[in-house]
Structure formats: structure tokens, C-alpha cells
Symmetry: C2
Subunit: 195 residues, 2 copies
């Protein structure tokens, strides 16, 4: 296999990339100067050694504890529970939440063999008990697995007496009623907000 | 900038990738074992030193002349003229053409400041004259630039007395009349084939 084919094969393994897009990228890289390819190569080669899990929240980080867990200005009494580390980034970009995070590492999905024991739930309960948490916001995807996990967690947390909430589900901002699916529309009715 | 952000920024410079897809890829790479990241890094780092232009056809290659130019079983009398090196790959995958290639390195586009002198046209005329070429197939995109370049080349080649043809333009296989644009439909009428 030649150098281009090899690169195309590797790139095509990335999510959302088919063979065509991978080919376009490989030629793009080839047509630009070698320094870009070199920087990308260095970024990839150093990635796994630079990044580890935060020992507190479980998110990917370069420093342990991560910048969010070690930021004293953030509200340590509110915990936002997310499925994956990248959800932390998405929520941080929205600049709406100023508490701390807890990464579950997945969602309960018996069909895929993922049970509560496989997730960072014990640690969540421990944190809630020992860190003086007042509120837990479940920021899980509005899918079957997300719903199941949210239900399970709210039951587990009910004994602690803290507030447990979940992100609202409904019409996306800028969306169109006409193109909204039935389930989302139903949820937006159930979750309607008084004006 | 941390290691993930750095990788995301670099990936987002690739064609067809926005910040979101680049982020998804970076996390995908992070979640898989480091060996994949290492292979991708190595493929990128070695790319520019492994690949050069074929001194005959101008396509990217690891060996000079490229495997196609040096393949004695291919018909050296038919030359397929393409815009870019990656077009050679696309045509090779269709397994329809068994002649040799010539890469122009672009299309005539006065608005972008690309004139005939910037393309590998002199070399094409030299090859046609000295390699005993019988036919030139212009495999250029059916765009304004492709049409302009095809017209220019057919005029330049008219003196040589060889056959100059261009790829048929028309309905894509599996396409639908209803969803075909007016220009494509017009071309498919002009280029209709007797049955």
C-alpha cells in the first residue's frame, strides 16, 4: 500500500468520514506544505500521553484535577452529570452553567451490555454525599438510554434529599414546528413554560 | 491551548470538517488506543517525503515514473487529461480506461488568475507530438472552467490531427429526471445516444 492509500485508509476510520472524504483530505494535506502535516502528526502522536482522566469528575484533562474542578470560582454545590467527556466541552461553550461536572462514561443500555455497574455512578453518589452538593442536573441525551439512565439516577439520588433536575427537551431554537418530529413536539407540550 | 484543542484546531482546517466534526474526531481518537493515533501520525509525518510528482504525467506518486506511466500493458497511444492528481484515482477506480494520464494541475480561470501558462499544457503538447498519441480524452469537470479549458485544449490540439474527445455529460446513473437541473438535462439531450 502506498503512502496516500495508507493515509486514506487510516483517515476513513474516523467517525463521519467515508473513503471519498478521506481521499479529499489526504490530497488536501499533500497539496499544502509539509508543516501542516507535521503539526497534525505531532498533535496526534502526543495526544494520549498529554491527556488523562480527571480523578474528580472523570473528564479528559491535561492537569489533574482538571481546570474546572480546580477553579475555586465555580459553584461546587451544583453538579452537572454528563454521559461523555466531550459533553463537558459542549456545555462549557454554551456559557450557561457555572457549577462542576461529573462524567458517567456512558449510558445504561442493557442491549449493549452496559449496566449501572459499568458507569461512574458509585462515585457520583459518593461525591453527592461528601462534597455538599445541593443540586444535580442530569444533562443526558433525550434518547431511550438517556431517559433510562436519568430515571435510574433520580431514584438513586432520591434518598439524599437534594434537588435533581434534567435539561428541558423541546423545540430547538430557530427550529420549525413543521419539521419537528412527533416525540419532540409531544415533549415540548408536556414541558410548556408559562409566559 | 491544550492538546485536544490543538488537535481540533488542526483537524478543522481539513476540507469538509467544521469545529464540531473535528471535535468528534479528536475524542474518537482519544477514546481509542494510542496505536491508531500513532499510525495516523506516522502516515502524516512521512507523507510529503514519500510522495512526489511523476516526471511524465504529473500525478502524485511514490516511484518516478509512476506505476501507470511505467506499466507496459497500458495503451500509451491514448492520453486522458485530468485537472488534478486525485482525478487519476477516481478514473482508475472506475476501471474503464486503460491508457495513460496527463495532469494539468488546474483549470483555466482568469477570475482566479489561472491562465493557460500556469498549467501543464506545453508539456501535454510535447507529449502528444513525441509519444505517438492517437487520442486525447479530456476528462475535465463539466463546469465553466472545465468547459473553457476543454475548448482551449481542443483548439491547441486541432493542428496535431489526433482525435480529441471529452467525457459525456448527462444524467447520472440511478438519477431521476425530476431532480436533474436544466443544464444537465439540456446536455443529455444534445448528447443523446442512438439505441
Amino acid at each position: 500500500m502506498n503512502a496516500i492509500d495508507n493515509l486514506v485508509t487510516l483517515l476513513a476510520k474516523l467517525p463521519g468520514l467515508g473513503k471519498k472524504s478521506a481521499g479529499r483530505m489526504a490530497y488536501h494535506i499533500l497539496e499544502h506544505d509539509a508543516s501542516f502535516a507535521a503539526s497534525l502528526a505531532a498533535a496526534l502522536a502526543g495526544l494520549h500521553s498529554a491527556i488523562k482522566h480527571c480523578s474528580l469528575c472523570g473528564a479528559w484533562t491535561e492537569t489533574d484535577p482538571c481546570p474546572i474542578c480546580s477553579d475555586e470560582r465555580r459553584d461546587g454545590g451544583i453538579l452537572c452529570v454528563v454521559e461523555r467527556s466531550q459533553d463537558v466541552r459542549v456545555i462549557e461553550e454554551a456559557r450557561e452553567f457555572s457549577g462542576r461536572f461529573h462524567v458517567l462514561g456512558g449510558l445504561i443500555s442493557p442491549l449493549d451490555g452496559i449496566n449501572p455497574g459499568d458507569l461512574s455512578i458509585g462515585k457520583l453518589l459518593y461525591r453527592v454525599k461528601n462534597e455538599g452538593i445541593r443540586e444535580v442536573i442530569l444533562a443526558l441525551n433525550p434518547t431511550v438510554e438517556g431517559d433510562t439512565t436519568a430515571l435510574y439516577l433520580s431514584k438513586q439520588l432520591s434518598e439524599s434529599g437534594i434537588t435533581v433536575s434534567r435539561l428541558a427537551s423541546g423545540l430547538p431554537v430557530g427550529g420549525d414546528l413543521e419539521y419537528t418530529d412527533r416525540l419532540t413536539l409531544a415533549r415540548s407540550f408536556r414541558g410548556r413554560v408559562s409566559m
